[in-house]
Amino acid sequence: MSARKTKNGGGLWPLRCTINGKKISRRVQPNQTLLDFLRLELGLTGTKGACLEGECGSCYVLVDGKPMNSCMMLVPQVQDRKVITIEGLAKGGHLDIVQQKFVECGAVQCGYCTPGLILAAKALLATNRHPTREEFLVGMEGNICRCTGYNTVLRACELAADEMGLKKK
């Protein structure tokens, strides 16, 4: 993945947005994907690129809380929006509950799909506190695990939902 150069040689975009709670203000190549920007310009390499065509979900980020494929977005499209990447989930040195459960369940094999899976689960749990197995499967259908470790992933998500439910009570 390399940064694309604009053909007209100029026209940098004055980007203003929030990434992982931090306000960003800088001039960017407008035809760069959000994925490339995060990885190459900000060094946030937790967001992965694999298929670059929306099939795999390894590039998922949350934009204003919604899951989106960062490989299909151009950077200026997040102008004035709030972006959360996998690096933005841990708070004060503590992993997010979904991350914790992934660790506890061993829901990681090669790990390349893990950031996308965790963000897909976060997005689902934000709108549905007690997803059924079927709802988890739909909420995470945009994410491919090439190692096919789906059972532990689902287990981790369900345990995270349970624990979140207990905390709310």
């Binding site: 604009t6 407008p30 035809n31 994907t33 065509e53 299909m72 977005m73 200026p76 897909a120 995470m140």
Partner: protein
């Protein structure tokens, strides 16, 4: 260059100035994929994601007006069965939050999931330019393979559909998720009991099956007439053999799918 208009008027003025040199971008689920593959390199973008009001949904007198940026995720929550089902079958959650109804139509994929549902619903598209606004029935919008009736200075600002049709929808593909159709089918029964049948992936554009529809309009909806209509439908579609399936298989499949959908609607 990258433009990010805040109003429809601003977007239309920019498009009128740039015409084909300016690429509209909304969800980016087609355009950026082409760019990633080195198959497109637009010089100038007109980004529609920040246009105010372009993701609004208005309901009035049995009609839903969907503004161009309404996403697949939004369509998936509408009380219009065929469109909701089609929209929820597009990609995964991330793609459904990005992809828009106008983009789905403008890209004019022969496999367009939303297109089949919208064709069966007699959807009307509103095409706007600085010259004014015109409304077109969707079946007049798809011209030929990946070609639409959009003029170089026009954009799709709205799609209107009825809420009064009884509808259903189905897709067969090769996988359980993020699935492109081998065949997708939508059926609808209008309040006057006319039948609409639309298919994707069996012709250069998403297509209505007028001959089968006309037969059913005369013969009525019964077990025998549905079987006969399926024969007619299989004769009027023109799928091609490709890496997804053979023409024969698609022809057979389309008939089975439409028969089941119609039988379910009649028995509902």
């Amino acid at each position: 260059m990258f433009y990010q208009p805040k109003t429809v008027q601003e977007a239309l003025e920019r498009k009128a100035q740039l015409k084909d040199r300016g690429s509209f971008i909304a969800g980016g689920t087609d355009l950026v994929v082409l760019m990633n593959a080195g198959k497109a390199a637009p010089e100038t973008f007109i980004d529609l994601t920040h246009v105010k009001g372009l993701n609004a949904i208005h309901r009035h007198n049995g009609t839903l007006d969907l503004a161009g940026n309404v996403t697949h995720a939004q369509c998936g929550r509408l009380p219009v069965r065929c469109l909701a089902q089609a929209s929820l079958s597009v990609g995964g959650p991330g793609i459904r939050e990005l992809g828009t109804i106008a983009g789905n139509l403008a890209t004019a994929s022969p496999a367009g999931d939303g297109s089949t549902a919208l064709l069966a619903l007699d959807a009307e598209v509103e095409l706007s330019s600085v010259r004014g606004t015109r409304r077109l029935p969707l079946d007049k919008f798809f011209v030929s393979y990946r070609k639409t009736a959009l003029a170089p200075d026009e954009m799709i600002t709205r799609v209107s559909i009825p809420t009064t049709y009884q509808t259903d929808w189905a897709k067969n593909g090769k996988r359980g998720a993020v699935n492109i159709s081998v065949v997708a089918a939508a059926v609808a029964i209008t309040p006057k009991k006319d039948v609409r049948i639309a298919l994707a992936s069996v012709a250069p554009t998403p297509t209505r099956c007028y001959q089968a529809e006309r037969f059913l309009a005369e013969a009525g909806l019964g077990a025998d007439s549905i079987r006969k209509a399926i024969e007619i439908l299989r004769g009027e579609i023109k799928p091609i053999t490709d890496h997804r399936a053979s023409a024969d298989y698609k022809t057979h499949l389309a008939g089975v799918m439409v028969r089941r959908l119609l039988e379910n609607l009649v028995n509902a």
